[in-house]
Symmetry: C2
Subunit: 482 residues, 2 copies
């Protein structure tokens, strides 16, 4: 079977960030809890004119420019996102539309005219689905080229328990035959169950009730006739059609501990499903473990019990027991804490998981893009350390709330270093613009009206106002100052 | 290359409908304009507890039950929809969750535990994308089985120009190797451009402005301090976070004539792209033309100019000229009207397009499901007429606003008739429940609180109210009375 996988990668992370130390202070949380406990250092934040489409477009343009890709040869551009800007028009088309226009001088009008474009939605795993489908499509033809984009912003309520796990950014992957960075095999383990651990529902409000409570807040009881007049008017907000509002909110409804449990269970099911299809001994076969990371230390925290199982499979438990003693069923949870701190586990984390966490610590949750940023982080770290990882095997443990896990495997290819070096990941992350907690809060509440950040990137410009196009999103390219 | 395609089909159309004659009367539109002009007869309407998830689940359950499918053997269930109920959790999981529970007695718990599930979004073409990706996946393995679901409700503003093109319903397709109904070849022509012909944006309102105008409507000018108090409160609607609302509306923003033009242009581009990859002479190669139908006569209206081109390619123009004369550049549009009414074109429509329109006339726009309902309509019509269509070729002309067209081809397989007969399509459509215009309007405004319709199907029951699960959708199976 032919080799297919990742030929090139690009990324876009917003220029703005908040120091987790600043947030911790403002929220009266011990910084160590967030930094040592969860691995958090900085949180990337969209500027007031950035969104999932603008970030996707910037990553896509960078991918094409930096790799001299002929966009007319790209057969499909698939976007995974849970920050879609429209319920019918794919956010992917906003992105391809922007890039197409920017590339007109070089490649002529409409370089994506025959390109298959679509959005896939499954919380944080949608881009993994885009990846697998695109690899199948490449396998089914000759010399096909695809691009997969993951673009999201993770926004949580101010003062909520999710607040410190925010983040944003986009990754674009160029997929081809005989790829330079990573070939990906076609065995995929799936674990899936419909649950509500994290979701973004419409929020319904009865107009009648809202109006009544508003009038009461204004110390004035609204009369029945006044209410009827307003609700039967042409007022674009209150007016006649429908008896209720449905509000869209970027911020999810979620249950953190339950979501962790779902992540863990789905991964176990996906691993089992994988093993039904192919041989797998994780400790022997996977030199690197790349996770979906809602926060930097999610993977190392979650995988401990699996690791104990893997130690057993490889007859390594004796060594652990000699270090921390055998488990005692009376205080198993205490023993697990010892196991987590054991040299054996810490070595495992340091060698196979930690390199993939580094970028996450500086960015925060990128939802669909997190797992691909983790791959990039691991590769950039190896390059920085001068390690040659060609031929090493990467195990992917992906998860999307709602819920689904997919487990699959890749092999690092011969051209990986040149492709990764040119991205200069950690240097790029070091040259962003810090904002204060006050600025962050104003941005969160949409009280900032002028963009704060510079830098070459696509930005939202305005909504169309014409009757038949009302609400259509318009973007422009912002030339950087560097 | 192995044959892959559609093994079985199921459909679910809501039990409620409005006679287009009744709507025409209420809106003071000539019924002939809608009926003779656009081909409309009835409009399917979701009951107050039906949505894209409940319809998808009902179609999925029917597919499994009616075809004795072992759900544990299904490797993926992909949903195309533009009526998604959540921005992160795929609507597909709500559907698979309902069906899984219903099948527990027969197949044990969690029959979709290892099933890959996801939503694809690209207006009306998302399910076609789900189809193509699933066929590639089947081609890439051995004996793989997939299900693709298309589920949507087309809801437009009351009194708008889109009102009479509403509709609703779901289709589920069982995809396998060596299928009984239709094998689908792997050549796909694509035409794509980012435009705003039809979309479902978030509607932004500044809280400040809304509150001011509300107070004015109430004949009371709100004081600055009162306003600040409300906007800084914990009120779940007005309260502190964010300065604006984003409303979700099921009803799209659209420009009908422009959207027709986009549909036409994308189809032309997709046909050209198809011909770059494979030989195609439409009149010789395609015995049936199956379109995405926003209204029944969309295909026959749109394809006239292409047909003239095809007549030219097959040296048939002389016959047409002898009937209606040669085109005169001064009054080309008049000549086109003659061409549309010519016996040659009418025969073409009657033979190759009209059978696919019949179900659409009785249902209205099903968005993603429309093109598959058109296929079913054509096959059910052939079965009813006792025509054997085995071996005949079907050309598909699909479209999604925003915008993308895909053109592809299928061949009717040996088992088609038995598979189609058992669905009893037209009889099922004849046994629905008519509602009055007044009931329809109340339903549209969400003023109906008790379901009107009976019949075996999944129905929405309630939103979860617990803090960490607020807004999660719960469903139940409604046993029919028949």
């Amino acid at each position: 079977m032919k080799k297919v996988g990742i030929e090139a990668i690009s990324f876009y992370v917003p220029q703005l960030f908040l120091e987790i130390a600043d947030l911790a202070e403002a929220r009266n949380i011990a910084f160590a809890k967030l930094n040592k406990g969860l691995g958090l250092n900085k949180m990337a934040l969209c500027d007031q004119n950035e969104d999932a489409a603008s970030m996707a477009a910037t990553a896509l343009l960078k991918l094409i420019d930096e790799n001299n890709i002929d966009p007319r040869a790209i057969g499909r551009i698939y976007l995974g996102t849970e920050s879609a800007l429209d319920a019918a028009k794919p956010t992917a088309t906003y992105a391809t539309g922007m890039v197409e226009e920017k590339l007109t001088d070089k490649f002529g009008a409409r370089c994506f005219k025959n390109c298959d474009v679509v959005d896939l939605t499954f919380a944080c795993i949608g881009a993994v689905d885009a990846l697998h489908n695109s690899l199948d499509w490449i396998r089914a033809g000759e010399n096909r080229q695809a691009i997969v984009i993951a673009s999201d912003l993770a926004k949580y309520e101010l003062n909520s328990t999710g607040e410190y796990t925010q983040g944003a950014g986009a990754i674009a992957l160029h997929l081809t035959e005989n790829p330079q960075i990573l070939s990906i095999s076609d065995t995929v383990g799936v674990g899936q169950e419909s649950v509500g651990d994290f979701f973004k529902p419409r929020r319904s409000f009865a107009k009648d009730q809202v109006l009544k409570s508003t009038a009461q807040s204004l110390k004035q009881l609204i009369s029945a006739s006044e209410k009827d007049e307003l609700l039967n008017s042409d007022d674009s907000f209150w007016g006649k059609e429908n008896t209720e509002f449905e509000l869209f909110k970027e911020e999810p409804v979620f249950d953190g501990p339950y979501s962790n449990e779902c992540y863990q269970n789905r991964i176990a099911e996906a691993l089992e499903h994988y093993k039904n299809q192919a041989e797998l001994n994780v400790l022997k076969d996977w030199q690197h473990l790349i996770f979906h990371l809602p926060y930097a230390f999610q993977g190392r925290r979650m995988i401990l019990k699996n690791w104990l199982q893997w130690q057993k499979e490889t007859d390594n438990l004796a060594q652990l027991y000699s270090e921390i003693g055998e488990p005692n069923t009376d205080s198993y949870s205490d023993w697990l804490k010892l196991a987590a701190k054991s040299a054996a586990y810490q070595n495992f984390v340091t060698e196979r998981i930690a390199p993939g966490e580094k970028a996450s610590a500086e960015i925060g949750n990128m939802y669909t893009a997190s797992i691909f940023m983790s791959l990039l982080s691991m590769l950039a770290n190896a390059a920085a350390q001068g390690r040659d990882v060609q031929g090493e095997t990467v195990g992917f443990l992906s998860y999307g709330s709602g819920s689904k896990a997919k487990v699959f495997q890749g092999e690092i290819a011969a051209g990986w270093k040149a492709q990764i070096d040119k991205l200069d990941l950690f240097k790029q992350l070091d040259s962003r613009h810090a904002i204060s907690t006050a600025e962050y809060e104003a941005l969160h509440r949409r009280q900032i009206t002028v963009p704060i950040s510079q830098g070459e990137s696509f930005r939202f410009s305005h909504l169309s106002q014409e009757e038949l196009k009302k609400g259509y999103r318009n973007y422009q390219f912002q030339r950087g100052e560097k």
